[in-house]
């Protein structure tokens, strides 16, 4: 567990540094996905398997897709990219691949080693019970927040598409 934590933490820090030093948005995004996967691994070693899975499904799965679509729609100009590249040193493309491979090796190692489940683990059952009993009002507020975000994002997108068509 300890070694897994240190390796995942190191990967997370390296990937984080790569995110903020990349000139190309897509490469930074791939490093960000590696960072989120490494953080999910850190969650697992800290005894939070449920949050680790949520991190992968929601963050690396859903939120990153939003980023990818936005970057594709923006289609950032070459000039802006060249300027950003001038400010920051360019870095290798293969690094996220290596980091992700290390994470995959960790994952297979964890699956292969069928040790006794750690007693320090807080499973989904305890989290769910706490979430829907003690924090039920928080769940309601979260659903309200998501609805507001949905309406807000839809409104901005709608106005943008209307402006593009030219009818004010």
């Amino acid at each position: 567990m300890n070694v897994l934590f240190y390796v995942s933490g190191a990967i997370a820090v390296i990937a984080g540094l790569m995110v903020i030093t990349q000139a190309n948005a897509m490469r930074a995004l791939i490093n960000l996905i590696v960072l989120l996967l490494a953080i999910a691994s850190v969650f697992y070693t800290l005894g939070a398997p449920f949050v680790a899975v949520l991190q992968i499904v929601i963050y690396a799965g859903a939120i990153m897709v939003l980023f990818i679509f936005t970057i594709m729609m923006l289609n950032l100009s070459e000039a802006a990219e060249r300027r950003e590249r001038g400010w920051l040193a360019s870095v290798m493309w293969s690094l996220p691949l290596v980091l992700a491979a290390i994470l995959l090796a960790q994952f297979t190692y964890t699956l292969a080693s069928t040790g006794a489940p750690s007693t320090a683990e807080i499973g989904p059952q305890a989290v769910g019970a706490s979430l829907f009993r003690d924090y039920a009002i928080g769940v309601e507020l979260a659903s309200l927040l998501l609805l507001a975000a949905l309406v807000g994002a839809f409104h901005y997108g709608w106005v943008a598409s209307r402006l593009e068509r030219g009818d004010e």
């Binding site: 567990m1 300890n2 934590f5 933490g9 997370a12 984080g16 540094l17 995110v19 903020i20 948005a25 930074a28 995004l29 960000l32 960072l35 989120l36 953080i39 850190v42 969650f43 070693t45 800290l46 939070a48 449920f50 949050v51 949520l54 991190q55 929601i58 963050y59 939120i63 939003l66 980023f67 936005t70 729609m73 923006l74 950032l76 802006a80 750690s118 007693t119 320090a120 683990e121 807080i122 305890a126 989290v127 706490s130 979430l131 003690d134 924090y135 928080g138 979260a142 927040l145 998501l146 975000a149 949905l150 807000g152 994002a153 839809f154 901005y156 106005v159 943008a160 402006l163 593009e164």
Partner: protein, 102 residues
């Protein structure tokens, strides 16, 4: 048995948060600023999971779930704003849109 030292997890969270903070302050591209915000939110989540495992209470993980919800809402609104700004200014540089007014 959980052998990970919680102090190291907190240090990791601090390093990640500092990374995200530097990213927000240094980068001028709105998409990169949003990505750095994601790093900072994840760092906060790491700290919460660490203390949840130290006191062996599920509350920390519950708050992490709320952080996930907040991040999803923030990214949805933030990225649609980025698209809107790009339509108006043909740029997502925060210095160029600093003259934004009504």
């Amino acid at each position: 048995m959980n052998s990970v030292n919680v102090n190291y997890a907190i240090i990791l969270a601090a390093v990640l948060f500092a990374t995200g903070l530097v990213g927000v302050m240094v980068r001028r591209n709105l998409v990169f600023i949003l990505m750095s915000l994601e790093i900072m939110l994840s760092a906060a989540a790491v700290a919460l999971v660490a203390v949840a495992s130290k006191w062996h209470q599920p509350d920390g993980q519950v708050v992490v779930i709320f952080i996930l919800v907040t991040a999803a809402a923030e990214v949805a609104v933030g990225l649609s704003l980025v698209l809107r700004i790009y339509h108006e200014w043909k740029s997502v540089d925060v210095d160029e849109v600093s003259t934004m007014e009504g």
